[in-house]
């Protein structure tokens, strides 16, 4: 039964219904009208917006500032959206629909930024650069979720695993004065929690959400306990070494992209490496096929001689490993010290990114970047003195996730046996 549902799902992705085609077109028209009406109103024609295209404090890969006349830019963007909407309504884009929606979205964001920074200067490159860094834990969290849920285990304990890994890598990094040992112990601690999640949800068949919740509560408690008992009392225990900026020769000299992607933190590279490995392993290897079959139809997989229990344990442990890297990022790549509750729900956002990315590593990266960008935008807006409260702006990613989950943007594919314990008969 599950196999047949899968095929139906795939058809849903590829074929775009006519209602959706028109709805998308209408929304795109609305965006175009909105850009024109809301952003260009009261805008003098000689206003300029300055975009700084090099992140602060960098000499390699410099790029000249981009200075645009605000009003004309906004009108161009509006017309651009209108053209896309027109083609969408008349012909439709078929498979490219989502790409076009993305372009319209980008145009909207660019228009919004031009409007907000009208007459001022905005460091666009710096904003993108910080978006990438903010996206790292979210995307890695999403990868962790993909690993678990593709094998049919729901993992809401990512948050707890990240928090634990952060605390342990701060502690062990400080004790050993080694970045790598800090990272290693951080990963091990997350692996232990993943093992607990595996034992509770696979062996004892506890509801997987309860098991995840327990681990989250436990992590919150134990990290705060150890932090108050040791890390805050002995400051030398909370002073781990950090990964510094690492420049990739040649590539870092590319304007704009170089400073953002090739002259940055170790963890950003690690994220892309994991992305490539995961994408290939999941969809182009026998290993990945087996894992996905366990998540789709464990009984069938079992009949074919795949060890469902073992596969699920492996998936959960790998998920723990990635979540551990995400947690260590906070300490060794970003903040440099442990504070209580410092992951601040990014593990849950990672889950949202996983859903938004349709259980697909590349999609998850895109969603993670979107969340990272939203975070970065929020902090930039408050600096620019925007009329729009940044706290309200920052709810946008959550709303988008809910909309996607509700299927308004097209139903995604969820592993069929996600969350169901497997009873071997």
């Amino acid at each position: 039964m599950a196999v047949s549902t899968t095929t139906i799902h795939h058809q849903k992705i590829n074929e775009i219904s006519s209602i959706r085609r028109y709805a998308t077109g209408v929304i795109e028209i609305l965006v175009a009208v909105f850009i024109y009406l809301a952003f260009t109103a009261k805008m003098a024609s000689d206003t300029l917006t300055t975009f700084v295209m090099t992140p602060g404090g960098l000499d390699v890969g410099k790029m000249a500032d981009l200075i645009v006349p605000t009003r004309i830019t906004l009108i161009i963007l509006s017309v651009f959206c209108l053209i896309i909407a027109g083609i969408q309504l008349i012909k439709g884009f078929g498979k490219l629909t989502n790409l076009m929606v993305g372009l319209v979205f980008l145009a909207f964001i660019f228009g919004f930024l031009s409007w907000q920074a009208a007459g001022k200067s905005l460091n666009l490159a710096g904003m993108l650069s910080s978006s990438v860094l903010l996206a790292v834990p979210i995307t890695l969290g999403a990868f962790s979720g993909i690993l678990c849920e593709r094998a049919g285990v729901v993992n809401i304990a990512i948050e707890g695993m990240m928090l634990m890994a952060a605390m342990v890598s701060a502690l062990m990094g400080s004790i050993t004065h080694s970045i790598w040992l800090g990272l290693l112990f951080g990963i091990i601690s997350a692996l232990l929690l993943a093992l607990l999640h595996g034992v509770l949800s696979i062996k004892y068949k506890i509801n997987q959400i309860i098991s995840g919740t327990v681990i989250n509560i436990f992590s919150t408690g134990i990290t705060a306990f150890i932090s108050q008992k040791y890390l805050q009392v002995f400051q030398q225990l909370n002073n781990p070494p950090m990964f510094t900026r690492f420049e990739i020769p040649l590539l870092s000299k590319i304007p704009l992209i170089g400073p953002i992607l090739f002259n940055t933190n170790f963890f950003v590279y690690l994220m892309f490496i994991i992305l490539i490995i995961l994408q290939i392993a999941l969809f182009s290897t026998r290993w990945g096929l087996r894992m996905r079959s366990v998540g789709e139809h464990p009984k069938a997989a079992d009949t074919l001689g795949i060890n469902v229990i073992k596969t699920r344990y492996m998936a959960v442990l790998l998920g723990g490993l990635v979540a551990g890297i995400a947690g260590s990022f906070y300490i060794l790549g970003s903040v440099g010290r442990f504070d209580e509750g410092m992951t601040a729900g990014k593990g849950f956002i990672g889950l949202a990114a996983m859903i938004l990315g349709n259980y697909n590593p590349i999609g998850a990266l895109g969603a993670g970047m979107l969340f990272g960008f939203a975070d970065s935008l929020g902090s930039k807006l408050s600096l620019l003195g925007s009329v729009i409260p940044s706290t309200l702006m920052s709810t946008a990613p959550y709303l988008i996730t809910m909309i996607v989950l509700a299927g308004f943007v097209g139903k995604g594919h969820v592993p069929a046996a996600d969350g169901e314990p497997y009873n071997k008969e």
Binding site: V154, I206, I210, M402, A406
Partner: protein
């Protein structure tokens, strides 16, 4: 979702089991009292024991003791754990010596002060009762309301607004109005994931988590913007609510024991009555335990899910309203200390039964209140309580572990309260 033919054949039997199985008068169901509380009791004991080991393992004096000799090490260990737990229980239940002295002296003020730790524990328990009931009710309907935290924030914000914005009402109208506002706001916040689940099949857990963050950001916005305290310097803090909206406290400050505790108890009885004494409650529980059977029995699942979620949210909103109207009297952003996740623990510990939840909430209140004292006396971080709660929860959720530790016979009646299908929904 399409159903197989086999399901249809079993249907009559399933419904019969469903209804008779839930019937408390059925002789098969009768368990001895000990059997009922065996697992929770042992889980609490084991949790406290492991917590004690953790306290010992992180104590300097214990290591110093072991450096001298094994015996002095164990003595130090015993002393450390003993002091910690003694201060935990005197901090939460009152010091027996002081209480007896106060009773002998016959001075009413003295007696009140001696009993204050106990009363304060009840104050701390009150939001736990509401939040636990919220989660338990949702569990019974087969819903996983992980959004209690967000509903609590929104409920608190609504109660605060009604509390300070409306002036000149008599207390007997203003206070119930503010409470009602909190409940309504919580219900509205919870209806969203309920509707999404009923209509689109989107799993309520992820929607609730998203709603939590939206609620948090929204209240931050409200408290720094439209609802901020004049002259508050932009801090996320609301104005003080009117005196007429206060849920009355029974004694003079610093004793904070208030009417809200009894309101919470009343709601526990109400939830029990709804769940177990009304047809609607039976329908709700049937939907929760066996949605397929409920569907064939002609129950309106969509409506049950939405109403169940709304009631759960209303209870969560009450938790927030109670904290504002009875204890804090103004809203700050640090309102909740993780009631959302704790509520899940409470519902599990209380086996999703309203009275069980009350007992669990009392335990959590005692632990939380006592931990403050313990932190003062033996400088053990208050978070030890969170760890103990997590441990208890693990043992409750996986009774097999407790059975293995204590060599108990297994019973066949452990059934999962909630079943999770995937995030995207099974529709």
């Amino acid at each position: 979702m399409k159903n197989n033919k086999n399901d249809k054949q079993d249907l009559g039997k399933v419904i019969l089991n469903e209804i008779t199985g839930e019937d408390p008068k059925s002789p098969k169901k009768k368990k001895s009292f000990w059997k009922k509380i065996e697992i929770p009791f042992l889980a609490i004991i084991t949790g406290l024991l492991i917590g004690g080991i953790l306290i010992g393992a992180t104590s300097q004096s214990v290591y110093a003791g072991f450096a001298v000799s094994i015996w002095s090490g164990f003595a130090a260990l015993g002393k450390e754990i003993g002091t910690a737990y003694f201060s935990l229980f005197t901090g939460s239940l009152g010091n027996p010596v002081t209480i007896i002295q106060a009773l002998q002296s016959g001075n009413a003020t003295d007696i009140r002060f001696a009993l204050n730790p106990l009363l304060e524990s009840l104050v701390k328990s009150t939001p736990y009762i509401f939040a636990g009931l919220a989660c338990a009710l949702a569990f019974r309907a087969g819903l996983f309301n992980i959004g209690v935290e967000g509903q609590l924030f929104i409920g608190a914000a609504a109660a605060t607004y009604v509390g300070y914005a409306i002036k000149g009402l008599p207390s007997y109208i203003h206070m119930p109005l503010a409470i009602l506002a909190g409940a309504a706001a919580g219900a509205l916040w919870a209806i969203v994931p309920g509707l999404l689940k009923a209509w689109t099949g989107g799993h309520e857990v992820i929607n609730c988590i998203m709603m939590n963050y939206i609620a948090y950001r929204l209240t931050t916005y409200l408290l720094t913007g439209p609802m901020t305290r004049p002259g508050g310097g932009g801090m996320p803090l609301s104005p003080m609510i009117e005196k007429s909206a206060y849920i009355p406290q029974f004694f003079q400050s610093p004793i904070r024991f208030h009417l809200g505790f009894f309101i919470a108890l009343a709601f526990a009885v109400l939830v029990w009555w709804i769940l177990f004494k009304t047809t609607w409650g039976l329908n709700l529980r049937t939907v929760g335990t066996n949605p397929r059977a409920a569907k064939y029995a002609g129950l309106n699942i969509t409506k049950t899910i939405i109403v169940g979620m709304a009631m759960s949210g209303a209870l969560a909103g009450l938790a927030g309203a109670n904290e504002i109207l009875a204890v804090n009297h103004s809203m700050a952003i640090g309102l909740s200390s993780g009631y959302g996740f704790d509520s899940i623990a409470l519902a599990l510990l209380g086996n999703s039964h309203p009275f069980g939840v009350v007992l669990a909430a009392l335990l959590f209140g005692v632990l939380k209140n006592g931990a403050t004292r313990m932190m003062v006396v033996s400088s053990i971080p208050i978070d030890i309580v969170t760890i103990i709660q997590a441990l208890i929860l693990i043992f409750i959720a996986a009774p097999a572990i407790i059975r293995a530790i204590f060599h108990l016979r297994s019973s066949k009646e452990d059934t999962a309260i909630v079943t999770l299908s995937s995030w995207g929904g099974g529709k």
